[in-house]
């Protein structure tokens, strides 16, 4: 789960990472209240999960209440690369002497934590890496050992962080590592991490991505979840515990297992079709989940045919078939189904579908993935997909 900047800063604050004083605002009036509390001058920042906010006019400096009204009014509701701004973060404007970069992530190849630290912050770190790879210190940290202040300090020295900022940055690195590990982040990034003229350092931005698998030990994440930007289809799927991602095509996809679902998208694409979604009903899916999956797909107006691709392992053929029959009794599906059913109890499943007496125009069965994909794409084209 990716956090908005303001949520990232609130999360940082839990781990004593210094951030600029500020608050989030959903309206112009709230923005003014936040600005008065933070103290002028303030920066009004659009809260969207996409880069390039500044260039799009989503970050503005304000010296008084009138300017806050003007800028917050313009920014709220603004469309930045397809993301509509619903909130602004208003914080006290900082005097900046230097901008650095710091982040922690998991290096999957090395199977260790990775600290990236650079004295050249405030720009895309990819650009720094391309221009001068030596400007970034990469330090692997063994998760069993963790990170000591001494090692953090050494990294700061090697990254050529300014002398006066070394202690502040080192302390920040330890706190950020604590946030990354104890806070169960996939990514914890500060860019820029600033040095102020008074010698202090703090986080001017926050990019945090949380590991959904760790949600069970973080009840405090519930409030972040409430603001996640999902489309209607994705919300419906989540309420049924289905792994769903909306796409732009016309063939609705249901498969069991992420790999098979991705593979199903690939095959549909290879035979000239386009997928309307990725939907993994997971291992051990039962009749209810299959019925729910069909409801989610049916919600999508673009869907012209539905391809159900099941290879039973834990998932059993008769459960899949019963779910389809139940869903067809419950929901008026707008698009015809093509199913490929293999694996555990596939025979039983196919028999259930045949005995249900569903007309061929609404449900057909194919023996292989490729044949089913071709049939689904042909039906989609017949039904008016371009």
């Amino acid at each position: 789960m990716d956090l908005f900047e303001y949520q990232g800063k609130q999360y940082f604050a839990r781990f004593d990472i210094p951030v600029s004083p500020g608050d989030v605002a959903l309206t112009v009036d709230e923005a003014v209240v936040a600005a008065e509390a933070a103290g002028y001058p303030v920066v009004v920042k659009a809260q969207v999960q996409v880069g390039g906010r500044g260039k799009a006019g989503g970050i503005k400096l304000a010296n008084n209440a009138d300017e806050v009204r003007l800028h917050a009014g313009n920014i709220l509701g603004m469309d930045i690369k397809g993301h509509v701004v619903k909130r602004v973060w208003v914080e006290h404007a900082s005097d900046i002497k230097k901008e650095y970069y710091a982040s922690y992530s998991l290096d999957r190849a090395a199977k260790k934590h990775l600290l990236m630290l650079s004295a050249e912050g405030g720009v895309e770190i990819e650009a720094v890496a391309a221009k001068d790879p030596n400007a970034i210190v990469m330090l692997h940290i063994d998760p069993v050992d963790g990170l000591s202040l001494a090692v953090a300090r050494d990294a700061a020295v090697r990254a050529k962080i300014d002398e006066e900022a070394i202690d502040g940055v080192a302390s920040m690195l330890v706190k950020l590592y604590d946030c990354f590990t104890r806070g169960d982040c996939d990514l914890a990034e500060i860019n820029p991490l600033i040095l102020r003229p008074d010698g202090g350092v703090h986080a001017l931005d926050a990019k945090v991505s949380l590991d959904n698998n760790a949600a069970f030990r973080h009840p405090e994440w519930d409030e972040f979840r409430a603001t996640e930007e999902l489309d209607e289809r994705e919300k419906l799927a989540r309420s049924h515990d289905l792994q769903y991602i909306g796409l732009d095509g016309t063939v609705g996809i249901i498969a069991n297992g992420a790999g098979l679902a991705m593979s199903t998208l690939d095959v549909v694409n290879q035979v000239g079709g386009t997928a309307a979604n990725f939907l993994d009903i997971g291992g051990g899916a039962n009749a209810d989940m299959m019925a729910a999956a069909l409801e989610v797909i049916n919600f999508d107006q673009n869907v012209k045919s539905i391809f159900i691709n099941i290879f039973g392992g834990i998932t059993r053929g008769e459960d899949v078939a019963n779910g389809i029959v139940a869903a067809m009794g419950r929901v008026d599906l707008r698009a015809p189904i093509v199913i490929r059913l293999d694996g555990t109890n596939a025979e039983e499943g196919r028999a259930i579908l045949v005995n249900a007496g569903i007309p061929e125009s609404k449900l057909s069965s194919k023996p292989t993935m490729l044949e089913a994909a071709r049939a689904a794409v042909a039906l989609s084209n017949q039904n008016g997909a371009k």
Partner: protein
């Protein structure tokens, strides 16, 4: 021969008294796997359909001489269960648990590396391993795996995705091709066993004559495998990478399957494998066809 597990492998099931552990543990036993004990704290002295249950892995190992463990416990308890098995001297641990936090996985992996270097972990979040006719640990339906033949040729399978592991087994069964061992390494960010570990074993296994690799988008495991294949694998290979059409920046169900900024894309992985001499199919069926062609040309 087979890799990692064979007919002599004695297996305990951690979580045998739970829903998943019981269902799959007993299925593995019914397949012919030597499931010798279960472990559930507090339930020592009981049994599950004749399989004795112990309070700790150490007790189960002392009583049965087990060398492998099947970990089927919920995410919160999985890390501790893995480390307990390693501390009790278990050499091969299969963990099917889905949803373990990445921080825990990283810690477990590095703890094993440091304190139990002889212990191999398969998974977490994997379908398990099957050496057809000999040993099945995990959730694979045994009947979809074609038995290997004495004279071969037999194929080894290594896969990062659960259902595609079954699909690969099925493709070979349709063609009557025997399987030496099929290993599902799982799609999580920090797998205990990776492609290279399996390729090394398959290369050394006299019963394995060719290898299928099933990968997916995200990370760089396939690229690293390609480097290894180029340098050290002489047996012929086919492969398939899932996720050619996956949109960038979206997680497709697995924690591991994500493409970002052109890194870890299916195309990059396919190109790397092709450059290493692997025949790459555009779907699982094509990978099966390519393997059949490889075996046919070997026979000539």
């Amino acid at each position: 021969m087979a890799i990692f597990v064979n007919a002599d492998t004695k297996v305990i099931v951690q979580g045998l008294t739970g829903g998943q552990g019981k269902y799959h543990g007993l299925r593995n036993k019914a397949y012919g796997t030597q499931v010798v004990a279960g472990v559930t704290p507090g339930k020592g002295g009981t049994d599950v359909e004749g399989v004795p249950v112990f309070d700790t892995v150490a007790q189960a190992v002392a009583a049965t001489g087990a060398t492998a463990s099947f970990v089927a416990v919920p995410p919160k308890a999985a890390s501790a269960a893995i480390l307990e098995a390693a501390a009790a001297g278990i050499a091969f641990i299969v963990c099917i648990t889905e949803g373990i936090p990445a921080q825990d996985e990283a810690k477990v992996f590095n703890t094993l590396l440091r304190n139990h270097p002889k212990t191999r972990l398969l998974g977490p979040n994997c379908p398990g391993i099957i050496s057809p006719g000999k040993c099945n640990i995990g959730i694979t339906a045994g009947e979809i795996a074609q038995l290997p033949t004495a004279k071969g040729p037999n194929v080894g399978i290594v896969s990062r995705s659960g259902t595609l592991t079954y699909q690969a087994l099925y493709e070979l069964k349709q063609r009557g091709i025997g399987v030496s061992t099929c290993v599902g390494i799982g799609g999580d960010p920090v797998p205990g066993t990776n492609f290279i570990d399996c390729l090394k074993e398959f290369q050394a296994d006299p019963e394995t004559h060719a290898i299928i690799l099933i990968g997916e988008i995200g990370g760089s495991a396939e690229e690293e495998a390609a480097e290894y294949i180029k340098a050290s694998v002489t047996k012929p290979m086919s492969a398939y990478i899932a996720g050619v059409t996956a949109p960038e920046g979206k997680k497709m169900g697995h924690a591991g399957a994500i493409t970002s900024g052109g890194k870890g894309t299916a195309k990059g992985k396919m190109d790397a494998l092709r450059a290493a001499g692997v025949k790459v199919g555009l779907n699982p069926t094509e990978a099966g066809d390519l393997m059949a062609e490889i075996l046919a040309s070997m026979a000539r």
